[in-house]
Amino acid sequence: MAILEILKIPDARLKLVSDPVEHFNDDLHAFITDLEATRQAGPAAVGIAAPQVGCLQRIVILDCSQTRKPIPNHGHLILINPEIIHWDGFELGREGCLSVPDYTGNVIRAERIKLVAQNPQGESYEYEMAGFEARALQHEVDHLDGLLFLDRVVSRRTDLFQRKVYQKGGKKKKNS
């Protein structure tokens, strides 16, 4: 087991698209062990993607089971070749990243997603995620496509025009 070095901006490797995993072998399993050890070693990150340690393979670890406030989640997930197949709704939220020290920004993400992914043995599963976990998954899949949350940051002013604000106003009208 090894703690791997986390690439940080402006490392150009963070902008590269990762390749699908083809061999579900001992090498893959050993790498996953190291990737998880790396996630655990740093500041409390709910996810990590292989390209963040310079491995350009479509591998993500996600664990939203330990958030400060409990939120719906699928526990500890190792997702190989994850592919989002459905998006629904959108929501603004604030994100930070192991690869982007000392900066956070607001990003729009889908509220609900469906994805297919393989486990470390190569078996396919389908997941439905919502809210925080869905946001975290989208953040990680972006890494596999060479995108950082910085590529999606929106002005705080944009938030003023989000659909949610109008929905809230509509709700209030109904009550009064």
Binding site: E95, G96, Y103, R135, R157
Partner: protein, 170 residues
Amino acid sequence: MNNWKMVTLVGEDKPGIVAQTTDALYRNGLTLGETSMMRLGGNFSMMMMVSGEGDLKAVLAPVAEALNLHLHVDEIAGRLHQHMAPNIQIRVMGADQPGIVARVTGALAASGFNILELESDVAGTAQDPVYIMTIQGVSEEAVEVLQQALDGLGEEGVDVSVSAIEMLFA
């Protein structure tokens, strides 16, 4: 490099203000830190952390004069990498009315809320202005406690909503 100054420049908006200002800083070996720049009511306002050797006022005065900007320079004790992450967002929206900002922020201050960012705007029309404000900040109080403190501050037609910001760190 730690002798940061806060530079404020304000004046009628026109293209090129940022370019000419930052070019003057760069050519004189001065460094930018955190900045915030925005058009407010047809004026362009800039707040910039600037560090480096030399007479900052002398560097910027000719630019300010040429662009007809008010220039203000303060010595500050600030540093970079002092970010705080907000955990609460408050949205206020509704009919424009006097004192709403003072009442909302007063109630927040009384609860120990620390405002990190506040942006407000007047939308709608001149006849029917709509006031919109978003506040992001740090509070140790629960969302429900803050919401209760703010409920009833707005009169009819003003919506004040408090929500938690769940920071995603991944």
